[in-house]
Symmetry: none
Subunit: 214 residues, 4 copies
Amino acid sequence: MNELDNLIGDLYEYDDELTAKQRKIIIAAIEAFAEKGYASTSTSEIAKNAGVAEGTIFRHYKTKKDLLISIVGPMVQKFIAPFVIRDMEKVLNQDHESIDDFLRAMLKNRIAFVSKNKLLFKILIQEIPFQPELKDLFKRHIGMKVVEKATLIIQHYQEKGQLVDLPPATIIRGIVSSIFGYIITRNLLLPELDWDDEVEIERTIHFILHGIKK
Amino acid sequence: MNELDNLIGDLYEYDDELTAKQRKIIIAAIEAFAEKGYASTSTSEIAKNAGVAEGTIFRHYKTKKDLLISIVGPMVQKFIAPFVIRDMEKVLNQDHESIDDFLRAMLKNRIAFVSKNKLLFKILIQEIPFQPELKDLFKRHIGMKVVEKATLIIQHYQEKGQLVDLPPATIIRGIVSSIFGYIITRNLLLPELDWDDEVEIERTIHFILHGIKK
Amino acid sequence: MNELDNLIGDLYEYDDELTAKQRKIIIAAIEAFAEKGYASTSTSEIAKNAGVAEGTIFRHYKTKKDLLISIVGPMVQKFIAPFVIRDMEKVLNQDHESIDDFLRAMLKNRIAFVSKNKLLFKILIQEIPFQPELKDLFKRHIGMKVVEKATLIIQHYQEKGQLVDLPPATIIRGIVSSIFGYIITRNLLLPELDWDDEVEIERTIHFILHGIKK
Amino acid sequence: MNELDNLIGDLYEYDDELTAKQRKIIIAAIEAFAEKGYASTSTSEIAKNAGVAEGTIFRHYKTKKDLLISIVGPMVQKFIAPFVIRDMEKVLNQDHESIDDFLRAMLKNRIAFVSKNKLLFKILIQEIPFQPELKDLFKRHIGMKVVEKATLIIQHYQEKGQLVDLPPATIIRGIVSSIFGYIITRNLLLPELDWDDEVEIERTIHFILHGIKK
DNA sequence: TATGAATGAGGTTTCATTCAT
DNA sequence: TATGAATGAAACCTCATTCAT
């Protein structure tokens, strides 16, 4: 479980916050939630796969939902938000000459991030519609901070005459849809295909920038 | 539940196949599945909301999963596939001069379709990852028939010199991502906003055709 | 379980409100609660003794506490309160010449009642301190209606010059303590002794009326 | 927790038998048992309220029931029994002229005792029916020694012609019921009322001595 | 001595499903 | 056809107790 091991290291700043059993619980939970969905995964199954007693899960997480939140919350909080924001600040400060470069940087970064966190990503998008806590978290972090920043960046480039005069919200939606479309197709819908990320990212950037019309 | 009533009429060709109770069961099930997810909805809850006895559900549907499939299967089979295909044939036959018109027709049609079937749509995309039957159905209908047709159309326009020379798969992904991005934002993420569909569809078409660069 | 059978008949006015299984559940629950206490009785144990599946209990009673309340509530409501009140009205109306007769009637009646409901009585006094619902029920029925009536009766006899001039509350406490003292000693503390109820009741009445001093 | 602190000092002859943690455990246990009942109190709750680790409880008390017994046992053994007996011997030796004085002394003494030990008293009467160990302890100490002595005293006064010719057991029951009736009403049923103990004790003595008849 | 992570048996409750009516 | 009582497996969770540190 190399992917998962790294992941844990990322999610929890101080590794020693977690006992060995806790790590095993989290890893087993991530795998099960991603494969069968949160509601269809039983705590006894998680315990069995983690090699711990069922009671041990509840010593560390008061409820099953607590376990979910503690897995998926940090992903939203510590990763998505700060990374995105830092990236964007970098962009604004370094003042890339063209948005091409900016877009390229962003896409690669985000795609690498999701590739490292495929399972968590799947859990997150599956459960957001049903977990008000997650929805809130998401709206607060992404909806407010990220969209705000993104709007500024887009206006910045629009003023420089590089971007079309669509409303920033529409532009953001276009970009995000394209990115997610790629990520989901690549990782969830057709993971069995041979993907040349380098090339396909360039194509996606081309699509975002110039559309499909010749 | 006007939306649901129409819906039922659409899903089942011969309305009289369904008893009144069956209709009520299906409606209650759609509402519950969409709101809380398939796995988190109990059959007793469906029965209560439908105003029937618990046993009645199992008289008509052997298992709970049968109920799900019988709700979401027809959507895939009878709706998505035929509509899309028919649309596309229409396009190819009528031979729209420009893809602009074609795209516009498609988008409006698909968006109208999903608006009519918001709840079913939500159930479908939530459950596809977890229900092999649905995944198969989907892949067979969409993946094979639709993608095939779409590829032909794109090649058709590429030969006419109207479309950029990206691989058809990339183009399809771009278009579909943009459509879904709009539908999901509009119906699931931010349904509380005031949407002017006419205008926003035009913007989305513009994005698909020309991208974001000026 | 003849005692319990009668009991059920008393508690539920229309016997046919209860299925056979429900009766068995209630009887098993009463026995277990009385023997081991509510908190120390498991629902699985009740189910086993009742000869039903555990789920059956929860089909009829939403929670374990529901089961307790539905057993002990009617005892308070339908029995204690109305009986006592009716008795007392009878007394006031018939206007017994002396309180001796009244006391005697009361004691016999109450003692017979508790003898018929020994187990329920035990459950009731054990659980009242821990179940707010029961406390409320009890205070409302006994505390308010019964004490009020009793006060009137005592004042009635005090005016006739038959009763000592202690505050009614003190007199009620004295009488009730003596009755409960007898009932508890007789049924709970020393049930193994040979009790001649007739005689012992006369003695208790003598104690209440004249005290211990010669 | 002044009440509880004194209490502990009383229960354990050599205070230094107890570590600070042990004291905290006992105090927390008394409070919890009294409030929610023995069976409904978890050891983890006691540990938390005592500010110790869960394991610490089991270092001092082999089982949860051990803890209960070690709390409530001394109350029966070291307190009730010896006090009562000593009092009674005093009475017999000092040879109070009248039982009035004797009764008054007893009542005040017992009521003061229970007031100091309200919580323990509550635990004791709640748990006696369900804990054979306690029942035994109680029967051995109270049932045998106390009743024996009390019988002697009553016969003593009966011979002096001061007491009515009811069987001693009946007289004991009358007195004890009246005392408990007062203590329970005062401390458990209606603790929120303003009680003037001096006055109410006199009234209770009057009731015991002369009954309710004028 | 004290800790608190770990246990696993057992608690209450839910639930899809069956079946006699 | 429709019912809803009944089921029992399995869900989530609690808890007294143990044990390595």
